[in-house]
């Protein structure tokens, strides 16, 4: 056996050391998790606003649902953006896809009398096609996804505005809410869940009620369920499935992945399709919620998603990151946006905070990655 002469630093009696190694590696593992920074940030922001917004109602059930809903909408697209970024690519067309998907749902349903489920399926089909084209263009041309999807940022936005004006003469389409009742598929994207639980809690006096005796929060908005569900599924995929391993490999080193037999192209196309689908889910929820579609919806959402993902610990260069981190990034985003509103600070400052947060997150991530590579 030649193990003793070649192993670099471990003493031969490795078995005796396992206890000590176990303890060290617990901390190392904790520090090496990409979402650590986001978790610390979320706790910090939470503590700050608990202190700063006391008495403003931010942390009443209604207030919590409020900022969770903001976080959830962003979180839905951030989850997909996180997987894509771990896979080594960006999608700047998410925001425009939201606008286009909204139009694709509203116009057939309102103007042409399609059932809502068919209109939603149409939007998903178009989203899939957009994602497929994005992925193929990136794969075939070898161009940075930044450029390819920047092109689609304008193409999709222009398509949304052009189509809408051509078919309806307007850029806003209202009246979708009339079509929601009775549509089984639309129900997936509208309303609240666990309403019975909240009524029951109110009836038992565990939750404040309004003047009419209804609970202040009637249920959990469906967007929050989508957010948590997608985050859970994405985390499962990343950590537990071969496909997750392929995502890490494709983003970490596409060439190495290909040489090891990973179908890098297929992985990337599917990830681009997933970001387009997530934009469509976002659009569905928004259209059902407001009852209307607007071609300008989703503006800058692609950048907000990237910010949430980076705050969540993902590396811009790919191969590293987590879906839970992206969820925490979205949570920070929601808390700050609503917290600034509740504490009465001029909302102009929100963007300043956002920018600073992004820079701090990137610096921290960079530092942590170096640490992770040093740890021997």
């Amino acid at each position: 056996m030649n193990s003793t002469e070649t192993k670099p630093s471990v003493a031969p009696a490795a078995a005796d050391q396992d206890e000590r190694i176990q303890r060290v590696s617990f901390w190392k593992k904790a520090l090496n998790r990409p979402e650590l920074g986001a978790l610390a940030g979320a706790v910090l922001v939470l503590a700050f606003f608990i202190a700063a917004s006391s008495g403003t109602g931010m942390f009443t059930p209604a207030g919590i649902i409020n900022f969770l809903e903001v976080a959830a909408q962003l979180g839905i697209i951030a989850t997909a953006a996180a997987l894509l970024m771990i896979g080594g690519e960006f999608d700047l067309s998410i925001g425009s896809m939201i606008g286009l998907a909204g139009i694709l749902i509203a116009i057939p349903a309102v103007e042409y009398g399609w059932p809502l489920w068919a209109a939603i399926l149409l939007a998903f089909a178009c989203a899939g096609l957009v994602g497929w084209i994005n992925g193929n263009l990136v794969n075939k041309t070898g161009l940075p996804s930044f450029i390819v999807t920047l092109g689609f940022l304008f193409i999709l936005r222009g398509l949304a505005i052009g189509t809408s004006r051509l078919l309806t003469g307007r850029t806003q389409v209202g009246g979708v809410q009339d079509h929601i009742p009775g549509d089984w598929f639309a129900a997936l994207f509208s309303g609240e869940v666990a309403t019975g639980l909240f009524s029951w809690m109110a009836a038992n006096g565990w939750m404040a009620t309004n003047f009419a005796g209804n609970p202040t929060v009637t249920g959990i908005p469906v967007s929050i369920v989508w957010w948590l569900g997608l985050t859970a599924v994405a985390t499962w995929v990343l950590l537990c499935t071969p496909y997750g391993n392929w995502i890490f490999a494709s983003g970490g080193d596409a060439n190495a992945a290909r040489n090891s037999g990973v179908p890098v192209h297929r992985v990337k196309i599917s990830l681009f399709m997933f970001t387009a689908f997530s934009a469509t889910i976002f659009a569905c929820i928004q259209v059902m919620d407001t009852g209307s579609a607007d071609t300008i919806r989703g503006l800058l959402k692609e950048l907000e998603a990237i910010i949430a993902v980076v705050i969540g610990g993902a590396l811009l260069t790919g191969g590293y990151g987590s879906a839970i981190g992206a969820a925490l990034g979205a949570l920070i985003f929601g808390m700050v946006q609503m917290g600034i509103f509740y504490t009465g600070v001029n909302t102009d400052w929100f963007q300043v905070f956002l920018g600073v947060m992004l820079l701090v997150a990137v610096l921290f991530n960079n530092y942590m990655r170096k640490k992770a590579m040093e740890a021997k």
């Binding site: 193990s3 192993k7 471990v10 391993n245 080193d253 040489n259 590396l315």
Partner: protein, 295 residues
């Protein structure tokens, strides 16, 4: 030679990249339980050859036979499935991923079925640890990133992975060039073990002390062409050394010599104030390759 079927055989394989002829008319047979050592200078086509064997490139002309049957690999995945495992010079490792994730990259062991199909991490970690300890690296924690390993350790992960999955043919592209003496000997022992296990091994190196002890046959490449294959019995260590240095086979090195001649001229021109003389062709022919290669 023998009448056995070669495990892998190339029949007049050529590879063109646009107008560049990277490989021309290469024929080679490698048998199970043997080590074929590929020799040749930089740019001789060694890397293109193994990339063609491993499915990264597809041959422009000619055919490859795996165990006597024609084989054509659309991508490395197909070559891997056919039992050809390659350790590339860049090792095909992702530094930010764990040892286990790298080890099973592209061929993850799974448990469960349907949507609950998942990587069997317990099994994967155990195998990675076992395979690494077989090659003499004691991995403390298979979930540590590969980037934290030293160059030699990474090499060992790559080879252990290739051997674990490469059922029939193992291709190693300069596996010992970045290693210290001890780790190189570990790798060589591993090659010998793979040969004893009945694998066909293709081994590329610049180091004759690494090549000669483990090789059964040598193939010499030069400028995209093959200068022939030799059994170990037919050549001495010195002859191999000569071949690697590119000093022999003068008739086929004419083009190369012309290049040396030009270099010589340029050197002379820059060295002295003397007029440049037309270099004596015959003397340059004999001395240049040797001096150019350092002895």
């Amino acid at each position: 030679m023998t009448t056995r079927t070669p495990m892998i055989e190339m029949r007049s394989v050529s590879k063109h990249f646009g107008s560049v002829i990277a490989l021309s008319d290469i024929s080679m047979q490698v048998y199970s339980g043997e080590v074929m050592c590929l020799l040749g200078d930089n740019g001789a086509g060694k890397s293109t050859l193994i990339k063609t064997l491993s499915g990264v490139h597809q041959p422009t002309h000619g055919e490859m036979l795996l165990d006597g049957k024609p084989a054509r690999f659309k991508s490395p995945a197909y070559a891997l499935d056919a039992g050809i495992a390659t350790v590339f010079q860049d090792l095909a490792m992702v530094p930010l991923m764990s040892i286990t994730r790298n080890f099973f990259m592209g061929r993850e062991p799974t448990v469960g079925w349907g949507p609950l199909k998942r990587i069997d991490w317990k099994y994967a970690d155990r195998v990675a640890k076992e395979e690494m300890s077989k090659i003499g690296i004691d991995v403390r924690d298979p979930s540590q990133p590969v980037g934290t390993l030293s160059g030699g350790e990474r090499q060992c992960v790559a080879i252990a992975r290739a051997v674990y999955f490469g059922a029939k043919v193992l291709i190693l592209d300069e596996p010992t060039s970045a290693l210290g003496v001890k780790q190189a000997s570990v790798v060589l022992r591993y090659i010998a073990k793979a040969r004893a296990d009945g694998l066909a091994v293709i081994f590329i190196t610049h180091n004759v002390h690494h090549a000669y002890p483990v090789a059964d046959a040598f193939t010499l490449l030069s400028r995209g062409g093959s200068l022939g294959s030799f059994r170990k019995e037919e050549v001495s260590r010195e002859e191999v050394l000569n071949m690697m240095a590119g000093g022999a086979e003068l008739e086929s090195l004419d083009a190369e010599l012309a290049e040396f001649q030009r270099e010589d001229k340029a050197k002379k021109a820059s060295l002295a104030d003397q007029d440049t003389q037309p270099a004596d062709a015959s003397s340059t022919e004999l001395s240049s390759p040797r001096t150019a290669n350092g002895y």
